[in-house]
Amino acid sequence: MAVKAAGKRQNTRTAVKRRNVRTNKIRRFDQQRVKTMKLAAMMMIILLAFSGLSYRLYTITRDNNAEYQKRILSQQRYDSTTLPFKRGTITDRNGTILAVSEKVYNVILDCKVMLDDEKNQEPTVSALAECFGLSSSELNSYIQENPNSQYYVLKKRITYDEMSPFLERQSTYNAETAKYNAKAKKEEKRGVISGVWFEEEYIRRYPNNALACDVIGFTGTDNNGTYGLEEYYNDTLNGTNGREYGYLNEDATLERTTVAAVDGNSLVSTMDANIQAICEKYLKQFSDEHTNEAREGLGFENAGIIAMNPNNGEILAMASYPNFDLNNPKDLSAYYTQEQIDAMNEEDTYYDALNKLWRNFCISDTYEPGSTAKSLTLAAGLESGKIIGNESYECGGSLTVADHDISCNVKQGHGTLDVAGALEQSCNVAFMKMGEAIGVKNTVKFENIFNIGLKTNIDLAGEARTASLVYSEDTMGPAELATCSFGQGFNVTMIEMACAFSSIINGGYYYEPHMVSKITNSSGSVVKNIEPRVIKQTISNTTSEQMRNYLYLTVAEGTGKSARPAGYAIGGKTGTAEMVPRDHKNYVVSFIGFAPADDPQIVIYCVIDRPNVADQPHATYATGIVKSVLTEVLPYMHIATTEEMTIAEQEEMDHLLENMINAGKESAENAENGDGEAGNGGENSSNENGENGSDEGSENKNGENGSNENGENGSDEGDNANSAPRYTVDPNTGELIDTETGEPAQVQSSFENGNGDNTDNTGNSDNSGNSDTANSPTGSN
């Protein structure tokens, strides 16, 4: 205060001195008036400033009102995010997954968000590098060059398991950093992992790779099915995408809403993946055996097998070869060399080759059926009454019809044949005479009845229409009638033949064939059951029984002998059709049959288009495959043997078994029949005198009952013997499991002896105790 007082004094002194000096210079003024003036001036300035600002506010609003409103709305986040739906699953009749959509994630880096704080870069990049194996230097240089990039895909389609380590790391690291940062000074704060998000997507996976490829078809990420079930049931399998989006409500405020995705429906196929695998295995085996034999290329041009239940039209298997990996459908490398593929790319034939590979031979390709059609001719004759059954035919090796010499399959002729003999020997001359008796009108009528020339309407994409490939009453002359009677001159698809044949042997009921038995929604409840559908009665029950007998005899004593699996009675008809041009070079050989002979449970039709052999016209190529397939499939279907086996057959069976066992030992992917056959034989003999006679008193009924009894008695061994072979299928993935290692096995070649796996629902499952004895006959009940 002393200082201040001194200062004041000094100030005062100075001021007084100055005043004296300057009084004349500076006019005296009225303080109050000056104040008022100055306040007014100040207020003026203030009001001027306010006016200016108000005007500015007014102009901003006037000039930009609409424009800025738009800008504000446009910078809000309404960007809608699509929530993808899950396409439905396709399973076989046992629940084996054939096609499934899996959620995968794309790793997206948002540089702008990450660089909110430059310190985030280091932890984020190192986490990305370590969790996803990315190069840190590349990441850093990308971020350096594109700091404003908001959508940079680092990695595509990783699984949840691949993604979760990053999420864990992010949450732990960020939590630790937050704890540390709470205490740290500003300069020492650390960055966090940020700016990385995961975009959801579904990809279609086919756990069994090539299995039933033509039937299933395939789907890209666009959820658009190509071929097979994927195409036919495309809309059923697809759901509706969900959406997360922002919108402005009536007060122009932004709301965000999520509409959940509706997942697609799932299909339960009538197909049995195991039967399918067996069929495919033997087709491939045949092809492999005959590759490059008579010409360059596979063992045949095309080949297919249809196995169906004649009593309800359900397709059990529909195999064709060559096949392709559904997970990689555009890969031709299995059938062509790289040079060939390059050449195809140049010539634009690449997709032709692919389409050829993708199309389903069993429903899309047409061919002349050959002698298998004789069963249809005979059934038509019997049903129309033109053939009674006691006729006899003279075959001299050829017949002249309308100036054409049409030769029989045996040049020197069959001599005198009755009706059964004509079918057994597949005598063309006899059938031409039958055709003549039936007449054009009835032939065309019955073709129509058997649905030849019409679509079967099977629920698969790409079924061929054959209406233009058959004769009508107007176009069918005597020569055409003659050739049609033994299956030449008109074209069919495999599925047409299989369905027509089924109706001949099942009592005359023509079922619409179908691949799907059930449609379920994403939560598993049934949306639709597809029931067997009888379209029409083709022939009477009596005729059908007669036909079964004739066909049984054809296999038992005639041309079909080589198709019979040991221990079973089956019926069927071979076919050897000469292709156009008729130069005795190219043939389609086939066999169509059913088993068991007296109570058909399965119809099997095998067609081989131009087998790669020097001498093609032998149906044995087809019958051999059918025999092998039935040998495995019939026991699998719990159809007991009815016939005694000769020593030769027994030996052959043992040999077959051994091969399978060895193959099974060599690699997990090869399957074995196990003790099935031998076990059946043993069991059958022991049960033959069982008390359970059925109406027909057939032996196989006894056998079946016997096995049931065993089952009830809790004797797993007996049942196991009966129901082997067994397949070990993981119900979740549908992949076959190596029971020794627990690792997924390669699926391509079917099955293995399922010791100890519980997932096979066709038979009793708890047979793990059998693993030691599985390789030896156990049918000791």
Binding site: A15, Q31, A41, M42, I46, L57, Y68, I72, K186
Partner: protein, 370 residues
């Protein structure tokens, strides 16, 4: 007592609370899980401010003249305290003192009222010695050097240019009213305009990367669209808010800009939220209220025959006027962006406390005049 002034202040403070809540509730809800977080704190400060106003209005304003030099010294001391560990750093600038009782204080706010008291007192004292002393260079120096030092300290220590400008503005305004001269102020104004032009020329001629932080701000001011993603982001978003409000606004609480686009909208940019929600109408009403407030102050200053009291009111009036004008000018991008709050309305505890205390002084003075 001037009840018009009191009513306007009460209304502005109440309206301020409402707008603070409207502007901050969205962010507060996200950051603190309590949408009324800022409202509660500001409400507490406002109540404290009204209590202070009440007491100050009871104290004879002449008492303050005794503390003129003390006010100056306390202001300077508080600014220097920012250098001690008591200083609280937010957003890179140390502008607050931690009072260790859960409250923070902004020395710049103290300095403003300190300078007002000091200048009113020193001018009155000098005029007592001779009416023309303050017109001499020495007198001008005695009046202007302390505020210049205080402003310099505020700028250097707390990196707060806007408060420094306000302190200088108050000083110039008080001197302007005290002396009869115009010429010098016109020259000063012309020099200031010339300086501004010079700075703008320098800012625009230099290469884009060069120059200081403030130079960049000037460039952003001149061409906000070019810097709309970084420096001028806030300015552009404020303009969007103002422009989109139209005449009647989107309705109270309906601002879209306060959601993510105008961060901390309750602070400097609250006027743009007023424009967006209440439109041109609301903005003009607020401006009008401030005009009434300043007008009332002017009337009181004019009526008060006591030189010290009159100059105090002039200082307070200048303080309000400068701050309101600069704030609205920033929000409308009429001047480069610098952090200035809107009196009574923007969020800020120290500010509302001292603004209301100043009103208390003015109210007390208004009792004495007729």
């Amino acid at each position: 007592m001037d009840y018009v002034l009191l009513a306007v202040v009460l209304f502005l403070a109440g309206f301020g609370l409402l707008m603070v809540y409207s502007a901050s509730s969205y962010e507060a809800g996200i950051d603190f899980g309590d949408s009324a977080y800022y409202l509660k704190r500001q409400g507490f400060s406002t109540v404290l401010g009204f209590i202070a106003m009440f007491f100050v209005s009871k104290i004879n304003y002449k008492v303050w003249q005794r503390f003129d030099v003390a006010a100056l010294l306390v202001s300077v001391a508080l600014i220097f305290l920012l250098l001690t560990p008591l200083g609280v750093t937010k957003n890179g600038a140390t502008r607050w003192l931690d009072l260790k009782i859960g409250l923070t204080l902004q020395p710049a706010e103290v300095a403003k009222i300190g300078i007002i008291i000091y200048l009113a007192s020193i001018i009155q004292r000098l005029e007592e010695r001779g009416k023309n002393i303050i017109r001499t260079p020495k007198g001008v120096a005695i009046i202007m050097v302390p505020p210049t030092i205080v402003a310099g300290l505020i700028y250097i220590i707390s990196d707060n240019l806007s408060s420094a400008i306000i302190v200088m503005g108050i000083a110039v305004a008080m001197l302007f009213v005290a002396v009869p001269d115009y010429k010098w102020f016109v020259l000063l104004g012309a020099a200031a305009v010339a300086g501004v032009i010079l700075v703008v020329v320098i800012a625009t001629s230099g290469d884009a990367e060069g120059g200081t932080f403030r130079m960049a701000r000037i460039r952003a001011w001149l061409d906000p669209e070019a810097y709309s993603t970084d420096r001028a982001f806030q300015t552009i978003q404020a303009l969007y808010a103002i422009g989109s409000g139209g005449i009647w606004g989107k309705g109270l609480g309906q601002s879209m800009q306060k959601r993510n686009f105008l961060p901390e909208a309750q602070n400097d940019m609250i006027f743009s939220i007023i424009c967006e929600e209440l439109g041109l109408f609301g903005a003009m009403t607020v401006i009008l209220l401030f005009v009434v407030l300043i007008w009332s102050c002017m009337v009181i200053a004019n009526k008060t025959s006591d030189r010290f009291g009159s100059l105090l009111v002039v200082g307070v009036m200048a303080h309000y006027a400068i701050q309101v004008i600069l704030n609205i000018a920033v929000v409308t991008n009429s001047i480069p962006n610098t952090g200035i709050t809107l009196p009574f309305i923007s969020y800020g505890g120290s500010a509302i406390l001292f603004l209301l205390s100043e009103i208390g002084i003015v109210l007390n003075i208004s009792k004495k005049c007729k």
